[in-house]
């Protein structure tokens, strides 16, 4: 009986709730990560493994290809933040208003791309961005009399293709996050604003935007990580991990290249540790600025 009371106390209950996380964290994160961290100081061969100290890291600093990968991933992350937060938010507000009919249909359609496996959508986009004259993008440019263009061979257009694919896949998902967030806003606030004679823009700026903050922070945080760790999209768009002049190479792509394709796990782990540190810095800076760690929301 005493044990039962103990488990039921308000002091202990939170620990019971988070217990599954702690277990999973220990087994499927801490242990593998420590192993990976150790491996980043090793030269791992098939037959023997040597300790090499910081050699992997110093090599990484001089590695031009790695720098390209970092630049690509950062650029991609930046543009996805610019494209995939404001627009889905506006779409969600629009969708939540009373001026849109047949909402269910649009939501379903916008969400559909996320359900398509990257294997097939990447293949479809690769064919659409083909430099040959039957690719859809080239059919468009040809219709304007511009001739064909090598979309997947130039830096800006390669990034464009990646962003088009990203927007195609994630606009609907992010919109749903925001719709879900909008649902939690108390409608009496809007009524009060109406009584005060607020315009729709004012209502958006002073009611919707502040109250969507938890959702926005969520979308921002996962987008930062998703942007930095993008890989599959690029892999499918260029039908493999090699793109002309590495215009599609990302950090995780480079990790994959090193760890999986060249089986140099030590170096790959160093890449992973750097990615972890970069992502942690960006995200924690962002979260601290947004006040996510404050204990109580007012």
């Amino acid at each position: 009986m005493k044990g039962k009371n103990f488990l039921y106390s308000q002091k202990v209950a939170p620990y019971v709730f988070v217990l599954p996380f702690i277990l999973s964290f220990a087994f499927f994160w801490v242990y593998p990560l420590i192993t990976a961290f150790t491996m980043s100081f090793q030269d791992i061969g098939a037959i023997k493994t040597d300790w090499v100290g910081f050699a992997n890291y110093t090599k990484l600093l001089k590695d031009k290809v790695f720098m390209i990968a970092v630049a690509n991933s950062t650029k991609y992350m930046f543009f996805t933040l610019v494209l995939l937060i404001p627009f889905p938010m506006l779409f969600a507000v629009l969708m939540d208003s009373n001026i849109v009919k047949a909402k269910g249909v649009w939501k379903a359609v916008l969400y559909m791309p996320a359900l398509t496996s990257v294997v097939i959508s990447g293949t479809l986009f690769r064919l659409m961005f083909s430099e040959y004259k039957t690719g859809q993008m080239n059919l468009i440019t040809q219709a304007f009399g511009l001739g064909t263009y090598k979309w997947l061979k130039n830096g800006w257009s390669g990034m464009l293709a990646l962003l088009v694919l990203a927007c195609w896949r994630w606009t609907g998902v992010n919109m749903l996050y925001f719709i879900s967030g909008l649902k939690s806003i108390d409608s009496s606030l809007y009524e009060a604003a109406d009584i005060d004679g607020a315009s729709p823009v004012q209502k958006f700026l002073y009611v919707t935007l502040p109250l969507l903050k938890p959702t926005t922070i969520y979308v921002l945080t996962i987008s930062v990580y998703a942007g930095l760790s993008m890989f599959l999209e690029s892999y499918m768009l260029w039908a493999g991990n090699s793109s002309p002049n590495n215009i599609g190479l990302t950090i995780v792509g480079y990790l994959y290249k090193r760890g999986i394709e060249k089986n140099d796990m030590g170096y790959a782990c160093a890449v992973g540790v750097v990615l972890l540190i970069v992502a942690l810095i960006i995200n924690f800076a962002q979260l601290i600025l947004n006040g996510t760690f404050k204990k109580e929301e007012d």
């Binding site: 098939a46 001089k62 040959y132 039957t134 690719g135 002049n245 999986i260 394709e261 060249k262």
Partner: protein, 478 residues
Amino acid sequence: MKKKLISSIMSVAMAASLLAGCGSASGTPESTGSSDGGNTEATESGEAAAEETPNSTFGDANGTHLEMWTFVELHGQHYQDMAEIWNEQNPDRTIEITCTTYPYGDMHTKLLTSLEAGTGAPDICDVEVGQFPNVVAGLDQWLVPLDDYAKDYMPTMVPARMQTYQGEDGHYYGAPYHVGAAAMYYNVAAMSEAMGLSQEDVIAKIDGVKTWSDYETLGKEYLTALGDDSKHFTSVDTGGTDWLWLAMAEYGDDWTGGFDNPANCKLESVSKMLKMQQGWLKDGFAEISPDGHVDCEAGFQNIMDRNIVSFPKALWYMSRFTNYMPEEKGNWYIAKCPVFEDGQKCSVGIGGTGTVVTQQSQNKELAAEFLCWAKMSDEGEQHIWDKLGFDVCNTAMWTKDSIAHDDNNQYNAFFINYPYDVLNDIGMDNIGKISVVKISPTINEYVCTTTLNQVLEDPDYSVDDSLQELQDAVDMEQ
């Protein structure tokens, strides 16, 4: 409200089991029932599913069991068919073989992971040549040397192909499927139409091509007769190294340096080829292959649209014609590749898959013996050509009529000439070899992502500068 949630979950469950049922309705007997229970039940239903599996296990159920992984389903079928024949010939040592087809990239990851973990690897496994250095790095701690099992077949096997799958210790660890001999494909139908010649005359002209300058003369004759600036004689690759491999083989070079020497990419042969291609691009003789190489969707379209009428590619490219370009039947002729100087080798083995036996196998000897037999013996080679359409490595087979001149074979029927006649014409000693070692992926990747794009997308770019850049990048890794 709670009711609603439960009902929603129920409806999902129903939808799920409905769909699962729909799957079983079309052929597989439903044996699992609705398995929406807990974790353990899922495992059980997984096992239950095994019973209704389309059969992937072949051979004698009482024989020794062998497990094999591949990433091409047809390869697996080859072993299954061979297992049946093996059991007939060796009633005292029968085998049962299970072949599992995994996705290409992931199979190699899975194999390496299980080799490193020391458990979970199959008895026999296909390894793509590009991935081979990673696997062979484990030498005889991971893999079984095949030397003893292959020795009866060795005298007639194309040596270059056996050496491709050698380890650093000199042992042979992989059994090849094919030579992958590079040859030149010509669209005779298109050429004869444009040049106003009979097909025989065009073929005579093609047979007269010995050197690259002959090749240029023929191409220019065709382009002049055609008089269409949007067409080209051939296309050069920014996403593949075939042309460069061919050039190296002709001069007997190897940029990897093999196991003993450091890689050296600043080779005269490579530079010659690239400079020649730059010239071609400038005068419209060649174009850049759409999407980087000819072995992709845009490449097939480009060929069918007759934007190019000739290109060098390994003999396994024949299957691309039969699979994706059936309308081209009867148009194409295969010939030896041109050389820079008389007397050079005129071909090189490109691509390939080596099959290995792992040390984790419980029946290494049997697995290795079966593998070498299935891939190098007369029965095996005949089957490889009939079913897989590869140019087989055992040269004793090249002159056999059942292989070389069988008109029922789809490849023999598709092309104007017999592919094996071309092989015999080339000869096993004229097929060069570029090593695939640890540094290979680095070179290959840098060439395909950077070097080729530099010098071919901008034909005025200095080849020497570009090769120096390549060498610097490679030096960082060795």
